[in-house]
C-alpha cells in the first residue's frame, strides 16, 4: 500500500467555492492540484452561470500543458479533488452541483492508455473533506437534522477502497 503513495509528492486542494459563488460569473470555482515528480496535475471547474459548470483537467510537464479529456459526464460536474492513486492512475472526484448535489463520483484515469473508468458513486452528498488514507479514499460526510427545534450536525466517514 505504501508503494501506492510513493509517487504522491503532495496533494493540494484549493477550494474557492465560497468566494466564487457570491461573485459575477464566470469564475473558477474549484481547482485541485497534484504535484507528482516533474508533473503537475490540475483539475478545475468554472461556473459559467448559475445553471451550469464546466470542468477540465490538464498536466503541466516541462513547461508544456497537455489537456486530459474528461468523460462527458464529468465535464459537467464540479471537480472536488484529484489524487494520484498509483504511478499510472489518477483519481478524480466530482459532484453534480446544479440545483442539488448528487453522490460524488470517483473516476479513474489510466495514464498509460488515457482511459477513464467509473470506480464508485459515494453516498455522501454533503461532505466536509475527502482524504487519501492508507485504507483508501476517505469521505467525511455530514448529516444534519433538526432535533427538538435545534439544528444539529453529525459527521460520518465512508471509505472507498483502493484497488
Amino acid at each position: 500500500m505504501k508503494k501506492v503513495f510513493y509517487s504522491v509528492l503532495g496533494v493540494l486542494i484549493l477550494n474557492f467555492s465560497n468566494n466564487a459563488l457570491g461573485s459575477r460569473f464566470p469564475k473558477i470555482q474549484t481547482r485541485s492540484v497534484i504535484l507528482s515528480g516533474a508533473e503537475i496535475f490540475v483539475a478545475e471547474t468554472q461556473q459559467k452561470d448559475v445553471l451550469s459548470v464546466n470542468s477540465k483537467t490538464y498536466i503541466l510537464k516541462n513547461g508544456n500543458r497537455e489537456n486530459l479529456e474528461l468523460p462527458d459526464e464529468v465535464k459537467q460536474r464540479e471537480i472536488l479533488a484529484v489524487f494520484k492513486a498509483s504511478p499510472n492512475k489518477v483519481w478524480v472526484v466530482s459532484q453534480w452541483v446544479i440545483e442539488m448535489g448528487d453522490k460524488p463520483l470517483v473516476s479513474e484515469l489510466n495514464l498509460k492508455n488515457q482511459n477513464w473508468e467509473e470506480l464508485a458513486r459515494v453516498d455522501c452528498v454533503a461532505h466536509r473533506s475527502i482524504d487519501l488514507t492508507s485504507e483508501g479514499l476517505k469521505f467525511t460526510c455530514l448529516e444534519d437534522d433538526i432535533i427538538e427545534g435545534k439544528y444539529v450536525e453529525k459527521l460520518k466517514s465512508k471509505t472507498v477502497q483502493l484497488r
Binding site: N15, S17, N18, L21, G22, V50, L51, S52, E73, Q76, W96, V97, I98, E99, M100, G101, D102, V125, A126, H127, R128, C141, L142, D144, D145, I146, K150, Y151, E153
Partner: protein
Amino acid sequence: MIRLKKHLTLFVLAFGTSTQAGYLCPNNRGHKVALTFDDGPHPNRTEIVIQALEERNTPATFFILGSQSSKYPELTSRIAARFRIANHGWKHINYTRSTVEEQRGDIERSTLQLEAFLDEPWKFRLPYGAGLRGDPQRLVESYGYRHIYWSIDPRDWDANLSAEESFQIILSEANKTPSTMYPNGHVLLLHDVQAKTAAHLGSWIDRLEDQGHCFVSLREVL
C-alpha cells in the same frame, strides 16, 4: 437637436421607468424575490418551512417530487391549501443519464400524482437542472409545462457552506439587478428537505426584508 433630446427623454420615461418598476419592491429600493422549494415534501422539515412562511405571510412555490407526495399526501394538501405547487418529477432522476422512456415515465407518473394540485399554468423544474435548454426541457414542455429556472442558488444542500454563508450568497445575489432571464425579479432556489434551510428560513426572510427586499409570488417575476 432639442427635439431629439425631448424624444429621448420621453423614451426613457416611457420605457426606462416601466422596466425598473418590474423588479423593484414597493419601497422602490429592494428587489422582488420569489421563493421556490424543491424536493419535498419532507415529513418533518417541510412543516417547519410552512410555519416560517405562514408566520410572515410569505408566498412560495413548492416543486414537489411525485414520490414524496404519494408518501405524504396530507402534507401535499397542506402545502396546496396555502402555497403554489409545481412538478419536480417523480423521484429526482438525472435526465441526462436516463433514457427518453424513463424521462417520460418520470414526467407522466409525477403528473398523475400532482395533477390535482398543480398551479396553472403548469410549471416543472428539471431535477439537478439536468437537460436545461436541451431535449429533456423540450420533452417537459411537450407535456404542457413551462420550465422554471432560478437566478439565485445558495447551495443549501452543501455542507461546506454554513447557514450564514448561504445567506450571504442569497443577499449578494438579491442585491444585483435581476438577469434578463427573469427581469421582473429573482427566483431563489431552496430545498425544504434540507435541515439547514428549514432551521434558518425565518431569519433569512427577515434579514432580506430588513435590507429592503420583498417576497412575491413566482407568477409576479415570470
